[in-house]
Symmetry: C2
Subunit: 358 residues, 2 copies
């Protein structure tokens, strides 16, 4: 059998619960396709800080780098909100992305027919939405230098950051996005603010240049303010969106809320080579942690992305995706996606139901 080594990072809040469920699903889907996993659980986020004094201990990063793929639960919580910046769980996450060089963040936002009523958008606007945000994840204003604090001529305190993109960074994320668009509906919308920012002008120029290698993909450009509007007005117009780190942070969250079921949405972060990082897009939800109330489906679907994008095991991935749809069709719902007429279940029971359909 094929063997893969997976690093599990349960993290904080509901993280451990959803990871434990997703691990079982991954195991079963793999074994049915002749795949064996060895799992290594490592501390990350606030839990790691409590244990070791660092939100991303060196052993955790090393284990992740050596793995075939990394599955993360969630990080953060009120408890660590007052930590100094370099000791915050979020900083650990940024360091993990940097350390794994996962520059391409894939965030699908899909409205499932079973859950269309969860959206705050009118049914005819929400139904059929199926888009993918490809966000640049290791560049731009998140990592740009110089950054910090200083004083201006008048002795006034200043805080500053640098939004910067180099050609190679834009080219590689553009290629990932074109490849993805090609396998979807063949439409790529590049989002920038090229009417104001030089970093965006270079972005637009390079994305346009790379398009020459993908004549089968239809490229369009949109300003970020307009994109934020269009996602509300008519989200179905989008197939694949590619954008920078900060715009991707904002737009992918907006897009996920449009589906109305962020407890369902997975994500993948990929590098040139080396292990990918897979995680649900929801947070650590400290208010419901440890109560068996969390929706594990986003993490289960992240495990499917791990199989598909991280290991190239499309069949095993499909098993998981279908199992999730089956389970929804049978009417099983956690609290966040519950509506009258369905069966309310907890995190564990939802996991067991999915296992039955894998």
């Amino acid at each position: 059998p094929k063997r893969y080594c997976i690093t599990l990072l349960p993290g904080d809040g509901i993280g451990p619960e959803v990871i434990s469920v997703a691990k079982n699903v991954l195991k079963l889907a793999g074994s049915l396709e002749g795949i064996e996993f060895s799992f290594q659980e490592m501390p990350m986020g606030g839990a790691a800080f409590d244990l070791t004094g660092s939100p991303l201990p060196e052993e955790t990063l090393l284990a992740a780098q050596k793995a075939d793929a990394v599955l993360l639960g969630a990080i953060g919580g009120y408890k660590w909100d007052k930590n100094e910046k370099h000791l915050k769980p979020e900083t650990g996450l940024l360091q993990l992305r940097e350390g794994l060089k996962v520059f391409a963040n894939l965030r699908p936002a899909t409205v499932l027919p079973q859950l269309v009523d969860s959206s705050t958008l009118k049914k005819d606007v929400a139904e059929g939405v199926d888009l993918m945000v490809v966000r640049e994840l290791t560049g731009g204003i998140y990592f740009g230098k110089p950054r910090g604090f200083g004083t201006n001529e008048k002795g006034d305190e200043m805080g500053f950051n640098t939004e910067v993109y180099a050609t190679y960074e834009i080219d590689r994320i553009a290629r990932v996005a074109f490849e993805i668009a090609r396998k979807r509906r063949g439409q790529l919308c590049s989002v920038d603010k090229a009417n104001v920012l030089e970093a965006s002008m270079l972005w637009r120029k390079r994305v346009t240049a790379i398009a020459a290698d993908y004549p089968d993909v239809e490229l369009s450009h949109m300003y970020v303010d307009n994109a934020a509007m269009q996602l509300v007005r008519y989200p179905k117009q989008f197939d694949t969106i590619v954008t920078n780190n900060i715009f991707g942070d904002i737009l992918s969250d907006e897009a996920s809320m449009i589906t109305g079921s962020i407890g369902m949405l997975p994500s993948a972060s990929l590098g040139e080579s080396g292990p990918g990082l897979f995680e649900p897009i929801h947070g650590s939800a400290p208010d419901i942690a440890g109560q068996d109330k969390a929706n594990p489906l986003a993490t289960i679907l992240s495990a499917a992305m791990l199989l598909k994008y991280g290991l190239g095991e499309a069949n095993a991935a499909k098993r998981i995706e279908n199992a999730v749809l089956d389970t929804l069709n049978k009417g099983f719902r956690t609290g966040d996606i519950y509506s009258a007429g369905n069966k309310l279940v907890g995190c564990k029971e939802m996991g067991e139901e999915v296992l039955k359909s894998v």
Copy 2:
């Protein structure tokens, strides 16, 4: 009678049509309150570029600076999309904001009961939305230096911009926002990305410090990605939002689309002293320009903001606001807000109907 000098900048596309209508409404509302206006029309945007070679001719900026208030229609259009950056209509607008030192951009997003069905959000989510985005307009990444293009160590081309805020810039926009929140429902939500950006950390620190002077206003903080979600999930939670230039660009457009009627939404840009700049938030709509199809209500309501925030003439402002509501109650609708059972009118007729109710 009181006398005010108003600079009118019709601009491009539908700009001249909506300005001509709004001017008549302003005149009548003023005269009924003992106010006389002298109007000076100046070229701006693409129209100014065609006429003089510059999107903001010096005479236009000088006239605007000397006026008591400035009313702008809209700028831009396909025709000038290929202009070099410093000759684009948008650059003229940024120069006008800088030249008038209007650092505070007020963008209300209100769902009127008459138009609640225009929103793509479900009725119970959209109805009652009444929020104000206060956007910092002359700082941050729009104007920060250094900016431009360069090459990195590897000889790779780079594009870069600087997000920078100084204490005095944050303090003054925070004060404007607290004053506005105080006159509204007393809630201010400051939006930033303080978990990642130093510029946002200073932002949060200063807004928190200024809050001490406004004990009657309830201050909260939200990350920009979460704000983009919350605007879709439950927009009624917001009263007043204050944020930086680029986040404000994105979130105010998202908020306006949530109302479903961006043809209705005005904006005001104010400085420490000197004339304010008032304009509809919609664009120049070149596809319907010159066809008497434009909705003039956003510009008419911008004229109301001009009276209220620019000249302190609250009574005349109220006349215009009430006239707009009356006209909607009578069922008059331009194409963009039309729904069955109402009376479809053009730009001019809508203006005449509003005049009847002033």
